[in-house]
Each structure stands twice: as C-alpha cells, then as structure tokens.
Symmetry: C2
C-alpha cells in the first residue's frame, strides 16, 4: 500500500512539472512530440527521416532519452539540428523533471518542432507526462500484431500509432487487421500510419500530419494571444 501511495505522489509531482514544461514550450511557440516505443522499433529512424523531409521548412530540435550511451544523439547531431542527450542513468523512462532540466539549456526560441525520443520501453513511459503536446507510439511489424492486446496502457495513451518496418510484411506473419482492431478497441481517437523508414514508404502521411498539427498549434496560440510574436 505504501508503494502505491508513493507512486501516486511521484505521478502527481510529475504532472505539476509537466504543466510547467507545457508553459515553457507554449511560451516559445514550440510544439513538442513525445516518441515512445519498444527498443529498436525505429524512433531514431523516424526522427532522422522527419528531419530529412521537414528540416528545410521547419526548425526542428531533438531531445534524446537513453538509459546509457549517446549513439542516437550523435546520429541526429550529424543532421545539423540542435540535439540534447538526457542520460537517465538506468531509469526506465523520461519524466517531466528530466525534460525540464533539458528545456532550460535548449535554444527553444529557435525551435518550432521539438521531437523527444523517450527511453525504449513499452510500459513505464506511458505513465509519465512530460508536458508534450502529442504522444506518438512507434510500433513495428516484427514485434507482432498482438502488441495492443499485451501492452494496453501505452496504446490507450497515445494520439498516433506509427507502424514502422512495413517493408518486412512479406517475410512475417503480421495480421494488420488484428493490429488495427486492437488499437481501435483501446483508443478510438488514435491515428495509425503505416511506414517504412527504410524505404520511405508511407512517410508523406506522417509528415502531413505533423504539418497539420503545427498549423493547429499556431492557430491555437494566436487564439489564446500567447507566445509573444
């Protein structure tokens, strides 16, 4: 019981800092997307492809969360966008406090789209709000079509499911309809995009979604009269 109460306290404190982060982001007119997935589903690949396609039009920044190493941050840094590495020192998820510390050292005023790569974990990150505007789950074909049924909280929490590695569909037993039904049974609002970061297939719809969300964010800020400008 005391563990449960402690967990509630931790989550409540986390939400307070997440609200601060949201104010910081809105104040600098930065739209933030929290990318979550199992290890190796392709969060970094999706970020790299997004930079390749949008980097000339939208000012992108990236925050990389990892339990160890800076391999992904180095890959992203080679694209010439601002990148910040959060090393969680073994913690299995990002939390709002970690993001807050990162945001305070980041050139937010120069960034319109902030892509936050969470730690590779299909369970714990779903519980911790960061103050992001949208949550995106990258799922992948080799993980199997049963994942929505086995990890329901993550699939319930997100705004978008990007199903990556569709180039492997011919070599695997993956029933897309079963996957889709699993997602929709948990989360009727989530959009599903089928992509291959390797071949580029399906990336247009994902990019169009981001551009639409960025426009909606700008309009919303104008309406609220926030964000200076």
């Amino acid at each position: 019981m005391s563990e449960e109460i402690l967990m509630e306290d931790i989550l409540r404190a986390n939400e307070e800092i997440a609200a601060l982060n949201r104010s910081l982001l809105d104040g600098s007119r930065t739209f933030a997307v929290n990318l979550m997935s199992s290890p190796g589903a392709g969060k970094t690949s999706l970020i790299l492809e997004t930079i390749k396609r949008l980097g000339g039009r939208v000012k992108i920044g990236v925050i990389e969360g990892d339990v160890a190493s800076d391999l992904d941050a180095r890959k992203v840094g080679e694209c010439g966008v601002p990148v910040h590495q959060i090393n969680t020192k073994g913690d299995c998820h990002l939390d709002a406090r970690m993001l807050n510390a990162a945001l305070r050292t980041f050139p937010l005023s120069q960034i319109s789209l902030l892509l936050i790569e969470n730690v590779g974990n299909l369970i714990c990150p779903a519980e911790f709000k960061l103050g992001e505007h949208r949550k995106v789950l990258v799922s992948s074909v080799p993980e199997g079509d049963d994942k929505p049924y086995k990890y329901p909280l993550m699939f319930s929490e997100v705004d978008v499911v990007v199903l990556n590695k569709i180039d492997l569909l011919p070599y695997m037993d993956f029933d897309f309809e079963r996957f889709r039904r699993g997602v929709e049974g948990l989360n009727s609002r989530a959009k599903i995009f089928k992509v291959s970061c390797r071949t580029g297939e399906g990336m247009e719809a994902w990019i169009d979604w981001i551009l639409g969300e960025l426009e909606g964010f700008e309009r919303e800020l104008e309406r609220k009269g926030e964000g200076g400008g």
Copy 2:
C-alpha cells in the same frame, strides 16, 4: 535520495524471497530459466519451439508474466504442458514475490525444467532476481545491432543471449560482429546462440545447451545431497 533508499529496500526484500524460491526449486529438482526480452523479440516462440523439441524427453512447465492478457499462456497451454499466468497488473517486471505465489500453486515435483517468461521489457526485469538458475535474454535482429550498447545492464546480467529472427538478416542492416563485440564487452561469460524460431535454424545448439545445463544441475544436486530422490 529517499527514492533510492526505498529502491534498495525493495531490491533487498526481493533477494530474500528469491533465495526462498531457489530453495523451493532445488527441493523439487526443478531447473528454472528466466527468459527476458524487449516486447516481441520471441520469448513465447522460443518456449514453444523448446517444448516441441524437448517435451517428449523433459518434463517442462511454463510460467507466463504479462502486464495484461493471457494470450501467451493460452498458446503454451495448447502444447499440453502445465502453464501458470502471472498478471502483473501493470507492473513492468516479474519479482520474486510474484514467482513465489506462482510456485506454491504449481505442480513443481512433476517438472524438471521451468521456463519463466518475464514481462517484455529490456530494462526493469534485469534488476529483479527471481531465484532462477539461469537468465536468458532473447534479442532479435530487427531490434538492431546496437542494443548491447544502449541497454547494458540487461546484457551484463544474463548467462545466455539468444539472437532470434536470423531469417530476417538478408532484409536488414544488422552487423553481427558489432552485436557480438557489444555483448562480449559487457559480459565475457555469456554464450550467444543465433536462431530463427520461425525456420528452426540454430535451435539444436540452444537445445543442447539446455540439456547440458539440466545434467549439470542434477549432478550438482547429487553432490549436495539435496532434492530427496
């Protein structure tokens, strides 16, 4: 700081129950293997293939750990071996207390090899001993060759790394030598088996390893004069 102390207390209490579990297992001459991996790497497939190849010779039982659903337990149950489902109710790993409750309802005296499928998570399960005799990590080709570098604790803790889905090697950029160097840099004792549960390739070496470990376990029990019999 108080969170750290609490975590130490939790891990210490867990180790005490893990030691009890080990006594229970040794007392019933049951060799227990804790299978860990990312979601969808193939733990259930490896269990099913192991039952198919060994079920006639070795009395196998399975304990399935999941945050939700009993999909895997039902698949295993169809093979006709005793199976018990642990539903962690959202917890991101099995712990010794959960296993203890399961062992007390399980026909241990009739089981020589107990396969314990942990929750799909490459981080948290590495911290929680269950009382198992061996820890096995199932990694998979689509997750990428960088996983040992990014999730070092898990790769450091295990006795065996089973690299699954090698049938997908022709369709992916996976550098096995980079993967192997990553594992060996963290863990000089870990054996690596390359398998495809889908095609059956490489399964003999894995099965031989289990049989060898079972023999060694029996000899060790004889030497200690434990286990009745």
